[in-house]
């Protein structure tokens, strides 16, 4: 196979199984097949396609559900039935569907890569911007009128180059940009523990490791539902089939809180369940991120969640093992670290081709075996991500959700996003956050003492602190994803909730100095307001804080 190229896509046997060339030795090519290979034998034909593994980008992506190599699963279901049989070849974008295209440029205008030729209102939420693909430029010699076109119709000509609404892009290569910018805005998730203590910036990276049952998946779902981004790409990499079905059935029902439109209209799902071929699993995160980059290039804020990147790493390990490569740590290939880093580096707030600003945030879940964070995938991920949400099994047992441990988690974006939060709440936000954090840290120390000598050994002030810490944990950090009101908290309400707890603490300290007993302080009526703050409206909460402050 001397005509073959590295990473070229091939079709194996007359069943046309999709494969990729991963090694060339002399006249021999090593092919990684993306489908089940039983019943295939020597002597069968292999067809070259002369292109690397690519995705199709254009109108029709939103609301789709793809497998790891961008085959539309809903279309496959309609044509091939309940099971995914082998050799099904189906284009990622519909060839027959027509889109209303509105041109923005005129004949004779100069067009550079990234310039918007025209737009398509793809869903009621998102305007799809048709851009000049990278490496195309010149004068527009022809452009179509406003009207309905398929993704295959030529809508514009630059010199002799034909431009369609559909672009293709190799998944392992990041899309070009002008430059990267420093992230400054927070990605608001409506999850109190994240927004208050461990925020991630738009264009940032976060890592959520946790043992099974600690609530990784719920956190990822909540992010996909509530984040203040324009587009969500949800990659289910080696996940459970039933869980993917849950997403598929739930997302179309869920409404975007801002526009009241179904969330599916801004979502792309990549579903590669654990029993689908391992090579497609390896490709799925790249398929996802390439689609995410494409929307970023339009100037949108994009969130990519990958659940779970451990399955991706294991897929690499499996493939590497079959190739008999020299293994690194725990059997993972030696390039695990560089591949992980390169993947997360595709995130960022960027100045795109065409001059727009867009951002791509990556939240990767990691499933460390036995919950042991010292294993290679977690460690390699932690080195390149800037936020760490540490899911804690013990908290999950107590049904404290989200089970993000406040003592071990961290975010390196706190100071970067403070300005934004201050502007939207109040100047004293950073101090409040630090105060609350220090109370929680102090609690951990005091708990040690309590464990040894009992709670009576503590001073009244320390007992008040313990009580406040409990309040922060139970009335602020604990959040019920399945409760209609509690599932999302606005930045303003979050600020008020924490404010109320701290105000009560100050009140308590003052009353203690006035020789009031701790029990009596805890009986004060404000305490009840704090407990109920989760389901209170913002005005009511504000009144309550005022009342506490007046008493102080």
């Amino acid at each position: 196979m001397s005509d073959a190229h590295m990473y070229e896509v091939v079709k194996v046997s007359d069943k046309k199984l999709i494969g990729e060339i991963i090694k060339l030795v002399g006249d021999q090519a090593y092919i990684q097949v993306y489908e089940e290979t039983s019943g295939i034998g020597p002597g069968e034909p292999v067809y070259l396609t002369a292109r690397p593994l690519t995705v199709e980008l254009g109108p029709g992506l939103l609301g789709s559900i793809y497998d790891g190599v961008q085959r539309p699963l809903d279309e496959i279901y309609k044509t091939a039935g309940d099971y995914i049989s082998r050799g099904i070849d189906m284009a990622g974008l519909s060839r027959t569907r027509k889109w209303e295209f509105t041109p923005r440029l005129k004949k004779g205008e100069q067009a550079e890569p990234g310039v918007i030729i025209g737009t398509v209102q793809e869903t009621s939420l998102i305007e799809h911007k048709i851009m000049i693909p990278p490496a195309h430029s010149g004068q527009i010699s022809e452009i179509v009128q406003k009207g309905k076109y398929t993704v295959e119709d030529v809508i514009c000509k630059i010199g002799n180059q034909e431009i369609k609404m559909k672009q293709i892009w190799p998944i392992r290569q990041s899309r070009p940009i002008i430059k990267k910018l420093i992230p400054s805005e927070p990605l608001l998730t409506g999850q109190r523990v994240i927004d208050a203590f461990f925020p991630v910036a738009q264009g940032g990276t976060a890592c959520v490791p946790g043992p099974f049952g600690a609530g990784k998946t719920v956190v990822q779902h909540q992010l996909a539902k509530w984040s203040n981004v324009d587009i969500v790409v949800f990659v289910g990499c080696g996940e459970r089939g039933n869980e993917m079905t849950d997403v598929l059935q739930e997302f179309p029902q869920l409404k975007d809180p801002k526009t009241n439109e179904p969330l599916m209209k801004r979502t792309v799902l990549i579903a590669n369940t654990s029993n689908m071929p391992v090579a497609a699993r390896e490709a799925s995160v790249y398929t996802g991120i390439t689609i995410a980059e494409y929307f970023r290039d339009m100037g949108y804020k994009v969130l990519l969640t990958a659940d779970s990147t451990s399955r991706w790493a294991e897929a690499m390990r499996e493939i590497s093992g079959r190739l008999e490569e020299m293994p690194g740590e725990e059997g993972y290939p030696a390039y695990l670290s560089s591949r992980t880093a390169a993947f997360y580096e595709r995130a960022g707030k960027v100045k795109c081709l065409g001059g727009r600003e867009g951002s791509l945030t990556i939240v990767g879940a990691v499933s460390p075996p036995g919950g042991d964070l010292s294993e290679p995938v977690t460690q390699n991920t932690l080195r390149v991500t800037r936020v760490f949400w540490s899911l804690d099994e013990k908290l999950a047992y107590k049904r404290h959700f989200p089970a993000i441990n406040w003592l071990t988690s961290y975010s390196l974006y706190c100071d970067k996003v403070d300005d934004f939060i201050k502007k939207n709440t109040s100047e004293d936000w950073p101090q409040m956050r630090e105060k609350a954090m220090s109370i929680l840290q102090k609690e951990a120390e005091l708990q040690e003492i309590v464990r040894l000598v009992g709670v009576e050994a503590l001073s009244a002030e320390e007992q008040l602190l313990l009580n406040t810490a409990k309040s922060i944990r139970e009335d602020f950090l604990h959040q019920n994803a399945f409760d209609e009101i509690d599932t999302y908290t606005s930045l303003q309400k979050l600020y008020l909730m924490l404010k109320a707890i701290l105000a009560f603490y100050n009140l308590g300290l003052k009353k203690l100095r006035e020789n009031l007993k701790l029990e009596e302080i805890l009986m004060l009526p404000f305490k009840e307001d704090i407990v109920k703050a989760k389901i209170m409206t913002e005005d009511k909460l504000e009144k309550s804080i005022k009342a506490i402050n007046e008493t102080v």
């Binding site: 290979t37 049989s85 049952g213 008999e324 009992g454």
Partner: protein
């Protein structure tokens, strides 16, 4: 069909056969070996190149001879002959009848490897299954189409619990069947299940696949796949709700490791092959419901954790694929509590959509959360009292300790033939919650307290 007499090498269960270039042999094709004494042994193609094929035998290679054995490639991959007549029958790991009745007449032949179900074709599991066991129904609810393993240890009563579930989960009015796959278990264990099924008349509605501890190891790999192929046929073509019990998954993984080592593959964690996760997922993921189909497959795989260690690769990888786990506790077992289910680390991920008004009862979700939280706190108080003595506990902690003790004694503990309705289970939960002061009941709604708490004042 050509016979080859070109065996080049024999090592363990592996055979290397020299083949001509035009042999047209396929990956995973079935193979028959005829020995000198005309005995037929079976295997499958593991690897094939232009000159050689590596064949893995399903049976012992004792008595094989390089010169006189003949190899026949059958030109097809492994298929299972299925029919509704399989109900009430017992088969071995190669699907040969084990009950001295004749072979079934096939209605269909199905590839035992199956194909992944398209996530778009799946229907979300949300029908409550009442197992009659409080620790499961009340706190870790099983739903139809779920895969919920039992994580056990050597000597713990997982078999009794599985048999009790199989017996009691029999929903009246619905077509129901049990497919039982046993891999490498002892004769006595297999006999226990057979007798249990027979005693309760469940045997006519069960298909048993048995591979005992002294049966060929390779058959342990194909057995669960056969069991699931049979289950898929019954569920999705015959509209039956199927409960699949697979025991013991640890033996399955051991077999996989044995074969992987024989193939000289690069080992992963603890010598298990690197593809263990993918391999397990092709078994576990064959549970579920399909849109427009009446039947369903619910899986209860049982595995014994070596040294009760749940970070061992087998339970660990299983937990990442299955939708929760029922964890058995040696402590509770030693205290004489049956079923010794440790509810805190147990989890049913799909319970939220299977409980509540119209499924179980309106208060289920909040009672469940309150019981979990209270039991966790009670156990913490117990640890504290071990260190400091019970007198050092605060009043409230003493209440929690009392709650934890009674919870284990009355809620978790039940008889082997006790079939509690979900109402009984929830009422029992409320009963126990009344031990605690009202102010502590933060996770239940006020209206539910009024309605269900007995001594409400």
């Amino acid at each position: 069909m050509k016979l080859y007499k070109t065996i080049k090498e024999l090592s363990g269960p592996l055979l290397i056969v020299e083949i001509p270039i035009d042999a047209n042999i396929k990956y995973e094709e079935l193979v028959e070996i005829e020995l000198a004494d005309k005995a037929i042994k079976r295997g499958r193609v593991l690897e094939v190149s232009e000159k050689t094929a590596i064949v893995q035998m399903f049976e012992h290679t004792t008595g094989f001879n390089i010169k006189s054995s003949k190899v026949k490639f059958l030109g097809r991959t492994m298929h299972l002959a299925v029919s509704k007549d399989m109900l009430g029958r017992v088969f071995d790991g190669a699907c040969r009848p084990k009950d001295s009745l004749p072979q079934i007449i096939a209605e269909k032949e199905l590839d035992i490897n199956g194909s992944p179900i398209n996530p778009c074709a799946r229907d979300y599991p949300n029908d409550f299954i009442q197992t009659g066991i409080s620790a499961i129904d009340g706190l870790n609810t099983l739903v139809r189409g779920q895969k919920l393993p039992i994580f056990s240890g050597a000597g713990l009563p997982h078999s009794a619990i599985a048999a009790q579930i199989a017996r009691q989960a029999n929903v009246k009015g619905q077509d129901f069947a049990v497919v039982f796959g046993a891999m490498g278990i002892t004769f006595e264990e297999a006999e226990f299940f057979q007798q249990e099924f027979q005693k309760t008349g469940a045997l006519e509605r069960a298909v048993l696949f048995l591979n005992l501890a002294d049966d060929p190891v390779v058959e342990r790999i194909t057995l669960p796949r056969m069991a699931l192929t049979c289950a898929e046929y019954l569920a999705f073509e015959q509209d039956i709700h199927v409960l699949v019990i697979l025991t013991d998954m640890t033996n399955y993984c051991e077999a996989l490791r044995e074969i992987s080592a024989g193939r000289k593959e690069i080992p992963g964690r603890r010598g298990y092959p690197g593809y263990l996760y993918t391999d397990l997922s092709t078994i576990y993921e064959r549970a579920g419901r399909i849109k427009g189909k009446k039947g369903s497959i619910t899986q209860i795989p049982i595995l014994t954790m070596p040294e009760d260690d749940k970070t061992h690769p087998i339970p660990d990888l299983t937990g990442y694929i299955t939708e929760g786990q029922i964890m058995l506790s040696r402590d509770l077992h030693n205290q004489g509590i049956y079923p010794s289910i440790d509810v805190l680390p147990s989890l049913s991920r799909l319970k939220d959509k299977g409980i509540g008004l119209g499924k179980t009862r309106e208060d289920h979700a909040s009672v469940l959360n309150q019981l979990f939280a209270a039991y966790a706190q009670g156990k913490e108080a117990r640890e504290l009292s071990v260190v400091l003595g019970e007198s050092a506990l605060s009043e409230i902690d003493k209440k929690y300790l009392e709650f934890a003790n009674k919870f284990e004694d009355r809620f978790v503990r039940q008889k082997k033939d006790e079939n509690r309705t979900i109402e009984n289970t929830l009422n029992l939960g409320w009963d126990l919650l009344s031990i605690l002061p009202r102010a502590e009941l933060k996770r239940v709604k006020e209206e539910h307290i009024k309605k269900y708490l007995k001594n409400y004042d």
